[in-house]
């Protein structure tokens, strides 16, 4: 059961039950939809980007605890950040849940390190990264839906 607690840390369960920044964002000027065909999860990320800074961010959709909590924590993490900083976080997050990162990067990821346990569950890596891939697509304002496949 200890492994499971590594995956489903309290912070994750909390964000799953009470997701932050969940819902539409009327002032948004960037959107993207993400889809994980493995589990049928779909989510949408809305961004309000002005002068290269993410002023507002929200997400909608249904998914498992990991994907929902990841989206929720992501919105908290990128709000107020520059586009370049958000892209850097995306890169670091992806590294953390696939190959792992050193301590300096861990510090920069802050709260997002609650997802480091995901690495031990290869089938769930896509759940954790779906929202980030969708954010990336929204920043590039690709109008097409992204998929984890």
């Amino acid at each position: 059961m200890s492994d499971l607690r590594e995956l489903y840390q309290e912070v994750i369960l909390d964000h799953h039950k009470r997701p932050r920044n969940f819902g539409p964002l009327p002032e948004a000027n960037h959107h993207a939809e993400g889809h994980n065909p493995l589990c049928g999860d779909r989510l949408a990320v809305h961004l309000d980007v002005e002068d290269g800074v993410i002023r507002g961010v929200a997400f909608e959709g249904a998914g498992c605890a990991i994907s929902r909590a990841s989206a929720s924590l992501m919105t908290d993490a990128v709000k107020g950040k520059s586009v370049a900083e958000a892209e850097r976080l995306f890169e670091e997050f992806r590294q953390m849940v696939t190959s792992g990162v050193d301590q300096a990067v861990e510090e920069s990821l802050g709260k997002l390190t609650v997802f480091c346990g995901v690495r031990e569950f290869p089938s769930r890596v896509k759940c954790a990264s779906l929202s980030w891939h969708t954010l990336h697509a929204a920043l590039e304002s690709k109008d097409t839906a992204v998929s984890t496949e």
Partner: protein
């Protein structure tokens, strides 16, 4: 006690699940420190030692390419491969062994019929009848054939209990219907469709029927002549045999007239620079070196099943399914899908507190293997109004203790997410 009761009692006594479990080496292992409970049988079934040994012995002592070999090994391999075809013929009670075509699996069998039977015959506005509960393998090939020809798919709806709407099915059969393609047993709901009735209604209008038997053959005896279906498809790996081998049964009168599927060795009778003459059944549809070891492994699986009391095995599975449904019905946060009175050992469900994916991960930590997702049935998931379900599927080697472990693990899910 009536004679029927006596028979059913003795049958129930005859099925010794502990003895059967000893035949499946893989079941005896620990996952995350707990004994494995394997409830993903609808995805693929485990293999008895007899199957593993048959494949291993073939490679240890008989391996050679089949047909046209004049040396002893080739003759032995050919005899074993053609013997496997005869074993499948008897298993399905087909009239002739040339009606048995070895393919990679159910998917390839359906694609073969879509390519060589449906596509050449379809004209714009012709129709193929499928249902909303089909596996993608019995849906997408027909969709592709329709797109190539301008024909249309007609889709039989289901009831809320997960049964085919037979009234709608009958209504959809019309002058333009060229083929009916339906699952015998639903992989996501467990529903056992009324195959004989499906065939009877179609044949009354001169329409041929393909049955996708992938989920049926592991649970029940199938007699293609009694069903009178025109095509029947199944996969070896769901029948306790190896992956990579499957079967297409087709009535010789239909398959004789169908053009070949893939070109290559073995499917020809003569080749010159000017002309190719095709071989007869079944070689016409078996281009290239087939999965010889797979066919031999499949025959070993059939032989193993023939050695079991399949009526008793089915009764054991039915009792397990009733037991799991009974235990789950006590959980207010669990919704079961597929409540058809006639169903195989498949239990599909969602929990209000947890996504199927999270259920699957927690159960795995408890040593319990189930499947989560859309089960390659996205149209059905839309119909049920869920993105995914969790599915426990049973085989005759599962026990009541497996059910208890599974239900106890669901309690852990509730503890965590509830």
């Amino acid at each position: 006690m009536s004679a029927v009761e006596q028979v059913s009692r003795s049958v129930r006594r005859a099925f010794d699940v502990e003895a059967v479990r000893r035949d499946f080496p893989i079941l005896h292992q620990q996952i995350h420190g707990k004994p494995l409970v394997y409830l993903d049988n609808a995805a693929t079934a485990q293999k008895p030692r007899a199957v593993i040994d048959a494949i291993s012995n073939y490679y240890l002592s008989d391996n050679a390419n089949i047909h046209r070999g004049v040396h002893s090994l080739s003759e032995r391999a050919t005899a074993a491969y053609e013997g496997a075809r005869e074993a499948v013929r008897r298993f399905l009670n087909a009239a002739e062994s040339r009606e048995i075509v070895f393919v990679r699996g159910t998917t390839e069998a359906v694609n073969l019929v879509a390519h060589s039977y449906a596509q050449p015959a379809l004209k714009p506005d012709d129709e193929i009848v499928v249902s909303v509960m089909e596996h993608h393998s019995n849906f997408v090939p027909w969709k592709m054939a329709c797109e190539a020809t301008g024909a249309r798919l007609r889709v039989v709806p289901i009831t809320d209990a997960g049964e085919l709407r037979m009234d709608e099915y009958e209504r959809l059969l019309g002058d333009r219907t060229r083929l009916v393609a339906l699952g015998h047993v639903s992989n996501a709901l467990g529903t056992i469709n009324s195959a004989a009735e499906i065939v009877r209604l179609a044949h009354a209008r001169g329409i041929p029927v393909l049955l996708d038997g992938a989920q049926a053959v592991p649970h029940m005896a199938v007699d293609v002549r009694a069903l009178d279906c025109d095509f029947y498809a199944f996969s070896g790996h769901k029948l306790f045999g190896p992956t990579g081998i499957g079967v297409l049964y087709g009535k010789a009168a239909l398959m004789d007239r169908m053009p070949p599927w893939q070109g290559g060795g073995d499917m020809i009778s003569s080749v010159t620079l000017e002309e190719v003459r095709y071989n007869t059944l079944p070689a016409k549809f078996e281009a290239g070196t087939p999965d010889i070891a797979g066919a031999i492994g499949l025959a070993a699986a059939i032989e193993y099943l023939n050695g079991l009391d399949r009526v008793a095995a089915a009764a054991h599975e039915a009792a397990l399914t009733r037991y799991v449904e009974e235990r789950l019905s006590g959980f207010p946060d669990v919704t079961l899908f597929g409540r058809a009175p006639a169903k195989a050992g498949i239990v599909s469900f969602v929990m209000s507190s947890a996504h199927p994916h999270d259920i699957g991960t927690v159960l795995d930590q408890e040593g319990v293997a189930i499947r989560t997702g859309h089960h390659c049935c996205q149209p059905l998931m839309h119909r049920l109004g869920v993105p995914a379900t969790a599915r426990a599927s049973f085989a005759f080697y599962n026990t009541r203790e497996d059910v208890d472990r599974f239900v106890d693990a669901l309690a852990r899910v509730r503890e965590m997410f509830g």
